[in-house]
């Protein structure tokens, strides 16, 4: 069976009031494992954590269903003045995001640090 894991981290450098909540995705995100990502987003949103950075360094595959999860939550997150940003994608994973037009809808960064800076710049 395909394997997929989400783990959470927080980035709270000194002087920054708005924490960035980092989700590390690992493994194979397909129709079967999609509910895990859904739960992860639900958890953060329930805790009113809206600055969400998804680090895709260890993500080996993402399917359309997986991308759909991002679509499902983006509105609520942005309505609460947060954002979902993505970083550290492998070229293969980026290609799928790109094919389905996601770079027009989400900010995708090469590196986690850049994304965090973007979040900080906002505050």
């Amino acid at each position: 069976m395909s394997d997929f894991k989400v783990s959470f981290r927080e980035n709270s450098p000194q002087g920054v009031s708005n924490k960035v909540h980092i989700m590390d995705l690992k493994g194979y995100l397909d129709a079967h494992t999609t509910p895990h990502l859904e739960e992860a987003f639900e958890k953060l949103i329930a805790e009113k954590k809206y600055n969400i950075l998804v680090n895709c360094r260890d993500l080996s595959y993402i399917s359309s269903a997986g991308l759909g999860v991002f679509m499902a939550f983006i509105e609520e997150v942005r309505m609460n003045k947060g954002d979902i940003k993505l970083s550290n994608m492998s070229p293969k994973v980026f290609n799928i995001f790109d094919l389905l037009g996601f770079p027009m809808l989400y900010e995708i960064f090469k590196d986690e640090g850049e994304a965090i800076k973007k979040f900080e710049a906002k505050t």
Binding site: D30, A31, H32, T34, P35, E38, S63, S64, A65, G66, L67, G68, V69, F70, M71, A72, I74, E75, N95, I96, L99, L100, G101, F102, M104, L105
Partner: protein, 603 residues
């Protein structure tokens, strides 16, 4: 133009004094190397435009490229699009023109230009040069707006000398092969991307079909379908509406549309953009409702050629509309989803059915356990009984109990309801009766007690029609007399007593059905004496109300007249005969209620 002739004409230009100024500072070969070193079409076109502008001292330039053929074009028509322009604003960028016969020579587009070129001449473009590679027109460069202080008259200012034109021709010729390659590369890239897109679609289809088969949870199926939908089309507004399940998934308010549910289902038999709805009166209202709800397209969910539901799609977040290919893809995954939803429904139904069957088996077992395994022997009497439960398992009950002082209590009842609840209530009745019988209390009083117990311990909608009697087979009676039956009938079908001479009596003395209310009035007791040859027939409404396929009941009248014809026989034979006659009446219709019969005969 072959490379050889190109080099020849270059030589001529080099040697001509008129064009020397164009070339002396122009590293033409360097330019050639530059444009040929890249496959980036945008860069190539930009370089050509800038170089032309610099060399000819013009302020306006543009480039048109031939577009891939399209189904909407007439035969022989070619579409050209402005790919890049400089000095004329961006209004003309991506502007398309149609040319029946694309010119292969350069030409001026001043006032007398053909209408199709007017738009460019108005923008200040004066001369158009074809880009030709392998004898095919790839596109055109246009230039205009020359600044040249030496030429005073504006009329002349727009003109280009033949040397200049030849220079541009050569220059474009040098760039043509690079442009050709750039176009080919761009096409290849777009083909590749389309292919990647198709592969992604196939992967999604494969993944979903695999996952859908494994999932029977309806909620999960719908969620998965929704995520795939949103991910694939880049929209976060959609709704799924099933023909016989209402709106089952909704991120869009479909209420304006639901007024037209039936019409929508018959209208949308293939994926449709709302903008493409056929222009009819009926659809105008639906279209308006869709627009009010923010629905951009509707895709039917079909299984076995029947529209079982629809998916309403909101606008895509990245702004672009839905292509036919997008809708076709959603149609495919939608049909996968609806089949799985149907399967999930059938699966759940099968489970429900299994549960019911299991429950019925339990009910049947309880009921079987309650009915007497064997009947006691009654001196001077013969007795036989039949209980034939229906498939649903009704609440028929009968019992024959010998009391401590040699009497026999015969009881028959019909508990309201079916299945396990009826069986449990029946068990209650049996326990109560068996507990009361040994006390040898008067029947009427006992009936009131049973009634009150049932009333207190059950809901008002639970009740029992009940008849019981205590048969006293008295051997001391003179010959011909067999005994007496004292009885109470609590709302049960009146039993028959058919005497040896054919007289029929009905035993109705008693009171209210058990379990409806507390006994306010005492139950009345009836009594009947038995002589040799007399028989008592107890039955439930499963006999008298046995229905044929047209809904005709067997009726108590028919039972009575049939009993007369068989009254000379022994109880077991009578029961079999009645059973056969009932079977003749229903002629194959399924048995809807339990059938219970007790026949007691004085012999």
């Amino acid at each position: 133009m072959t490379l050889f002739t190109r080099v020849l004409s270059l030589k001529q230009i080099f040697s001509s004094p008129h064009t020397q100024h164009l070339l002396d500072s122009t590293p033409l070969f360097e330019f050639s190397t530059l444009v040929n070193s890249t496959l980036d079409l945008k860069f190539i076109l930009g370089s050509v435009l800038l170089t032309l502008m610099a060399k000819l001292r013009v302020t306006k330039s543009l480039v048109l490229l031939k577009m891939a053929p399209q189904a909407t074009l007439k035969v022989g028509e070619n579409r050209f699009r402005v790919e890049n322009c400089k000095g004329i604003g961006s209004d003309l960028l991506r502007k398309d023109i149609l040319l029946a016969r694309p010119p292969k020579k350069d030409f001026s587009i001043s006032s007398a230009a053909p209408p199709v070129w007017k738009v460019f001449s108005r923008a200040g473009i004066r001369q158009i040069f074809p880009i030709i590679s392998h004898d095919t027109v790839l596109g055109y460069f246009g230039i205009g707006g020359r600044i040249d202080t030496k030429l005073k008259t504006p009329r002349k200012a727009g003109r280009f000398s033949s040397d200049e034109k030849e220079f541009v021709d050569i220059f474009i010729n040098v760039a043509a092969s690079a442009i050709d390659k750039g176009i080919a590369f761009q096409e290849l890239r777009s083909v590749n991307r389309t292919l990647d897109g198709k592969i992604q679609e196939l992967k999604t289809l494969f993944e979903l079909s695999k996952e859908f088969t494994a999932v029977v949870d309806r909620e999960r199926l719908l969620k998965l379908f929704g995520f795939t939908l949103m991910g694939h089309i880049g929209a976060n507004r959609y709704a799924v509406c099933l023909k016989d399940g209402g709106v089952v998934a909704s991120r869009i308010d479909t209420s304006p549309l639901l007024k037209f549910k039936e019409k929508v289902f018959s209208l949308v038999t293939s994926p449709m953009r709302v903008a493409d709805f056929p222009k009819r009166k009926v659809t105008a209202a639906i279209k308006a409702a869709c627009e009010a709800a923010g629905i951009a397209a509707i895709v039917p969910l079909q299984s076995q050629n029947e529209v079982k539901g629809i998916v309403c799609l909101g606008e895509r977040l990245r702004g672009s509309g839905y292509s036919q290919a997008d809708l076709e893809f959603i149609y495919s995954i939608g049909n996968l989803a609806i089949i799985s939803l149907e399967n999930s429904r059938l699966f759940n139904e099968a489970i429900e059915k299994q549960k019911m069957e299991d429950e019925l088996t339990i009910a049947r077992e309880i009921q079987n356990g309650l009915l007497p395994k064997s009947l006691p022997e009654i001196p001077g009497f013969q007795i036989a009984a039949l209980n034939c439960p229906s498939k649903q398992v009704g609440g028929d009950y009968y019992d024959v109990i010998r009391t401590n002082n040699g009497k026999f209590v015969l009881a028959i009842g019909d508990v309201s309801g079916k299945g396990t609840p009826a069986s449990l209530l029946m068990a209650n009745v049996q326990a109560t009766i068996r507990a009361l019988v040994p006390f040898d209390l008067p029947l009427a009083e006992c009936t009131a007690r049973v009634n009150d117990l049932l009333f207190e311990n059950t809901n008002a909608n639970k009740f029992i029609t009940f008849f019981w009697g205590a048969l006293d087979p008295d051997s001391r009676l003179p010959a011909g007399q067999a005994g007496t039956l004292r009885y109470v009938n609590a709302g049960h079908n009146h039993p028959f007593v058919i005497t040896a001479d054919g007289t029929v009596k009905r035993l109705g003395e008693g009171g209210l059905i058990l379990g409806i209310m507390k006994a306010l009035m005492p139950y009345r007791e009836g009594s009947v004496a038995f002589e040799t040859g007399d028989m008592l027939v107890l039955f439930t409404d499963g006999v008298s109300e046995a229905m044929d396929n047209d809904g005709n009941e067997y009726t108590e009248e028919r039972l009575e007249s049939f009993l007369r014809t068989v009254s000379s026989r022994m109880p077991q034979e009578i029961i079999s005969a009645v059973q056969e006659d009932v079977a003749r009446h229903v002629s194959g219709a399924p048995q809807s209620d339990d059938i219970t019969l007790i026949v007691v005969k004085a012999v």
